[in-house]
Symmetry: C2
């Protein structure tokens, strides 16, 4: 679903008149293609003390495990998007309990809004982008086979929330990137 | 700074092969222009008990008052974007204290990340997109001359935070849209 800038041969980078940054300008028609950061919406979704994970059936990171998440679409809210992604990837119906985290991956101009959620049923199943889905206890999380650093961040931040006084109840501030990490380093395998 | 889709005459909406949604496709070169929701980053920035407001020098809503906010740029984090916008619009240097609110404006596919911030100095000045800037006490907020509904939301949510036990200190969950409002109704004047 990622926008592939490389698929646009007639576009060239230059500073349009009256602007102060390079933009993609179409050589054939002059259209200015503004590039914007993209929003990923996702969730740490729990069923009792187990968490919903999906094994990716598509690149990047095919075969690795992730939380349900994907690009927000037009005309939906971020909450609607997080619920849609859980349905698309795991046939899971979610109730959202709050914003667990806002992560910035500056390297790829991505902002991730990750919600804390509860499954309304444990009847989950792999959608077209998943090879399999599973409800996994904390001790069974396949840490070495997680697809992206931000999946690790989200699971750890969930655990931090669980372990604080009050646990998952009450107000909490969303977590952010690990201190000092702008998400600008390319992780191994990506 | 808004992307003007109407400025792209050769683009036509159709469903590309292998996709399930209409996209903008360039008639002259076949480029698929994926449209994504856009991120606005901004802040409710305080100096003592006064708040930073900017009177807009540009459309839309020229002459109306807003909090410093604008489109997030590529390769920056949302926090960096909120600080950049405050500098661009009000020559204000900010320290961020947390995420005050996440607003969805589904009508225009916009997600707003609004931070609670402190000015590090009261030496503010209008940037190129502002006609004037002001540090305004709560009782002097020009409610009838605010530029956008989400500016009203942000100021009210700041006030809610201030009035809760603990005030602006300690953890708080970000506010969201007013209940039942997806941001899908066109406000008067917009
Ligand atoms: Zn073109
Ligand atoms: Zn073209």
């Amino acid at each position: 679903m990622a926008e592939d800038i490389n698929a646009a041969p007639p576009f060239r980078r230059r500073v349009p008149e009256g602007d102060d940054r390079e933009r993609l300008v179409c050589d054939s028609c002059g259209f200015i293609h503004y590039e914007n950061p993209k929003i990923v919406v996702g969730s740490v979704a729990r069923w009792g003390d187990r968490l919903l994970l999906c094994r990716r059936a598509i690149e990047p990171r095919r075969g690795y495990w992730t939380i349900p998440a994907g690009y927000m679409e037009l005309a939906e809210t971020s909450e609607e998007g997080a619920r849609r992604e859980a349905w698309e990837e795991a046939r899971a119906d979610l109730a959202l309990d709050g914003l667990l985290a806002v992560y910035n991956i500056a390297r790829i101009s991505q902002v991730q809004l990750i919600y804390l959620a509860r499954l309304t049923s444990d009847a989950v199943a792999a959608g077209p982008e998943s090879a399999e889905v599973a409800l996994v206890g904390w001790d069974d999380i396949p840490w070495d086979e997680l697809a992206f650093p931000s999946v690790v961040w989200a699971l750890r931040d969930y655990r931090r929330l669980l372990d604080r006084p009050g646990g998952l109840t009450g107000d909490f501030a969303p977590f952010g990137n690990p201190p000092g990490d702008r998400g600008d380093r390319r992780p191994a395998g990506l």
